[in-house]
């Protein structure tokens, strides 16, 4: 009874207080908390700033501008707010923020989840948002008790006056806090007072995820919505020659059939009818822009480009002279294939375009890009477009692409009704913007003591940034082409890196760790070749080249110690090691593998991983990323390769693009090193050193040097034959 009385009077009070909102200005970094008038929130909530709101039950909802695609960013970012706000964890909730200017990433200047930046780019903003709210609550309590602010302390959802022991809960203080001026520079709690950061906190999305409750993009329902699908060209650049519109319209459930720039859109009352309608179209296409594109021709194209002159992206010392002087010279050719994202939730988007408004629900990593294509497609200004970020069923960089949003908006605008637009698995494979394939030629040299003195590297690869972030391309050099090569972690007195740009109709994009993933395979494999050429232990050889790079050396030593590198490997097991700094974090991987000489199958038994991201918010989430990234990277190292034929993509499903299964995973041991360095990313950096650690382990086990990904059983068998 008392409770309900309290609640009623509180509701009255807090209704009066609703109306304050802060936005975090983007004009500088660290962010400035600026007051912004808001007419009425209408829901008895206190909204101390753009990043959180408190309801009368004391529950704080943190608004997250980063997409949750499995990496745990929602929980991590909420921990930053909750820690500074001195909350009780049970009162913390999260939801996707709206898509608006105040939610742009302060470093990127756009709303985007990529580059393993979720926590590190938002760390200051979220901490300040929590601290500002805490200071306002303390200030409200101090004036209620008429005591100095300095005598009051916020703790687990309450403010306490330390001298008298008087306590008021946040919910009791909410209405008064709303009247307090917004502190522009709230003090941040020091690290030794953190109650959540650095501890394993349970993920806020876990309960829903085991109960089938989160709303992914495909789970959106809008009243009166239809379903749509586009019949697309089977080859890159192919133009529509003919199609049977009437036949498609006869399919039960099909509502509308019309041409769109790429092909023919079929809109129906359910997705199966839309797909049947597409089949009934019996669409005919011309041969496209490159009809002879296939796996064999692609190899030839790469080799032809290797003979071309490229752009010099790095030229340190004098490679020519060093090459002449070297007492031992070596040369190798490496290659990596095109690889698909294959996120389990295929690309999809639901759009409701009206004459004067547009509402979009999509599982996107790139909200600002989604907004831009919607503005372009509808002609509406940004304030007439509402974008809801749903939960994402995986992304891995693939969901920065917004083609599916453009299509959904275009189709909804044309039919004048909301549409749920879902790519089939085949469409998702056929229209993916892949990790680019690449071909590498490397020459290296050692002096008479076996110390590496030169590295000459030529890479043939297609650019990514030219399409996605053209401002990043300087002097024609796409940084992703040479990431991990030109900026390798080792000291190399003479280094020459050349990039030959490959223009092909195959679209390429950001794939978990981008250029680092294939380039690190190449660099860390060739380093291993040099170590063996010098007759040195691969770990010692690396450490000698990392005297200027103690954190890279640190993660290597960690996996070597934890993995027992100095002890003899178990029978028939080979050990390999590799390291890479990317996205602000250092990662080393040690692999233990065996190779079946008859079948050629490589079995990875054990991976020992160490990451040094400087600081850690949620250690268990970091461990989950070590496990997940390592497994995905093993999958790519051993199995994955997109295939092309007749000018288009041949790969169409998991049956012709197998990924790693449960029976193929090794034991994974993850280690986290923390220190006082700047916080780094964790979603991507564990990927790059996995493939070379495995390749180096295969060499240790068999003497076979595998220089072409994926390391499939047939390649191993041919290598054994060639060796014999």
């Amino acid at each position: 009874m008392t409770n309900s009385m309290d609640r009623r009077s509180f509701l009255k009070k807090s209704a009066a207080c609703a109306g304050l909102m802060l936005a975090v200005s983007l004009s500088g970094f660290p962010p400035i908390l600026a007051a912004e008038k808001r007419t009425d929130t209408g829901n008895n909530q206190w909204i101390p700033n753009a990043w959180l709101r408190m309801t009368p039950d004391g529950v704080v909802t943190v608004l997250i501008n980063k997409s949750e695609l499995g990496q745990g960013t929602w929980t991590g970012l909420a921990m930053l707010v909750a820690d500074q706000l001195d909350m009780d964890w049970k009162d913390v909730r999260v939801e996707a923020s709206p898509v608006r200017d105040e939610y742009k990433d302060p470093i990127f200047g756009m709303q985007l989840t990529g580059g393993s930046t979720g926590i590190r780019n938002m760390y200051d903003t979220m901490s300040k948002a929590g601290a500002a709210a805490r200071e306002m609550l303390i200030s409200a309590a101090a004036s209620e008790w008429k005591v100095p602010i300095g005598e009051c302390l916020a703790q687990k959802g309450n403010v306490t006056h330390q001298k008298t022991g008087k306590t008021l809960s946040y919910r009791q203080l909410c209405s008064q806090a709303a009247k307090v001026p917004v502190p522009q520079n709230p003090p941040l709690k020091p690290r030794d007072q953190f109650q959540f950061i650095g501890k394993n906190m349970p993920r806020l999305d876990m309960f829903d995820k085991v109960n089938g409750k989160p709303v992914f993009g495909v789970d959106v329902f809008v009243p009166g919505m239809l379903y749509s699908s586009i019949e697309r060209p089977p080859a890159y650049g192919a133009k529509l020659v003919s199609f049977d519109k009437a036949a498609a319209e006869k399919v039960p459930g099909v509502q509308k059939v019309f041409t769109v720039p790429e092909g023919v859109a079929v809109v129906a009352t359910n997705i199966e009818s839309a797909w049947k309608g597409r089949k009934a179209l019996n669409a005919k296409w011309d041969l496209g822009s490159m009809p002879d594109l296939n796996d064999t021709s692609l190899q030839r194209i790469f080799m032809d480009h290797m003979r071309k002159k490229g752009l010099v992206t790095k030229n340190v010392g004098d490679v020519e002279q060093a090459f002449k002087k070297a007492s031992q010279r070596m040369m190798s050719v490496y290659s990596a294939p095109y690889v698909a994202h294959a996120a389990f939730e295929p690309q999809n988007c639901t759009a409701d375009v009206r004459p004067d408004s547009c509402e979009i629900w999509c599982p996107t990593q790139a909200q600002t890009s989604a907004l831009n294509v919607a503005m372009k497609e509808t002609g509406l200004p940004a304030d007439k477009i509402t974008i809801h970020t749903t939960m994402l069923g995986g992304g891995f960089g693939g969901k920065v692409e917004v083609k599916v949003v453009e299509e959904a908006v275009m189709i909804s605008r044309t039919v004048g009704k909301p549409v749920k637009h879902i790519w089939s698995r085949k469409e998702d494979f056929n229209n993916d913007c892949f990790r680019p394939g690449s071909l590498h030629m490397i020459e290296g040299g050692l002096d008479d003591k076996g110390v590496p003195v030169l590295w000459r590297h030529k890479v043939v690869v297609s650019p990514i940034m030219e399409r996605l972030l053209p401002a990043m391309v300087k002097g024609g050099i796409d940084p992703t082409a040479v990431d991990g090569i030109a900026n390798m972690d080792y000291s190399m007195p003479n280094l020459y890196v050349e990039y030959v740009k490959l223009d092909l109709p195959i679209p390429v994009g950001f794939w978990r760790s981008v250029g680092n993933s294939s380039n690190t395979f190449v660099v860390e494999s060739f380093i291993d070749e040099m170590a063996h050429g010098a007759g040195k232990d691969p770990l010692e050889f690396r450490l000698n080249m990392l005297k200027e790079n103690p954190r890279a050396a640190g993660v290597l030593k960690k996996v070597a110690d934890a993995g027992g590198w100095s002890n003899p490997a178990p029978k028939d097991i080979g050990r390999g090691i590799a390291v890479r700094f990317s996205y602000g974090s250092y990662v080393a991987q040690m692999a233990e593998v065996s190779v079946d000489k008859k079948t050629g199958v490589i079995k990875v038994h054990r991976m020992v991983s160490a990451i040094d991201p400087g600081q850690v918010v949620n250690p268990d989430s970091v461990l989950a990323q070590i496990e997940g990234a390592t497994i995905m990277a093993i999958s790519v190292a051993l199995k994955e390769r997109v295939s092309f034929k007749n000018g288009g993509v041949a790969t169409s499903s998991f049956s012709d693009y197998p990924i790693l299964t449960m029976s193929e995973i090794p034991r994974i041991e993850g280690h986290i090193i923390t220190n006082n360095e700047k916080i780094g990313g964790v979603g991507e950096p564990c990927v790059p050193p996995v493939a070379p650690a495995i390749a180096n382990a295969v060499f240790a086990a068999t003497g076979l040097r595998l220089r072409s990904l994926p390391m499939t059983a047939d390649k191993v068998r041919s290598a054994f034959k060639a060796k014999a």
Partner: protein, 152 residues
Amino acid sequence: MMIELLVNGKKHQVDVDPDSNLLWVIREHLKLVGTKYGCGEGACGSCTVHLDGEPTRSCQLTVKDAQGKAITTIEGIPEDHPVKEAWIAEQTSQCGYCQPGQIMQAVALLARNPKPSDQQIVDSMDGLLCRCGTYPRIIKAIRKAAGKGGSR
């Protein structure tokens, strides 16, 4: 045409073509969206439901096939089921998209074999793919659920 489906103990009348795919009817007509479309060809397991207790890829069935059988989806497994609780305890899910299918397979495994060996766990789960790489935690969660009487 009206088709009667028995889902999570409730009878539903749905007006669909009898050859409609069970997965899409469960998702888009009954709005039980925990069951997911992953590949449409039975190769990934994200659409796994129980048909009379047997784990089944719903994308490979028509509603006609499922008529008269007891269909259970992720929404029909109690929130306090040992498998779901173990999944939370091990912080298993990452993106979460394939997880309902994984959980349905695990629930069926433990119903049949309350104390599976690690090899039996892997044998039963191997056809269910996860792109995030949650396999190690899935194994731990199933072991944990088995220890707590996961057969319930």
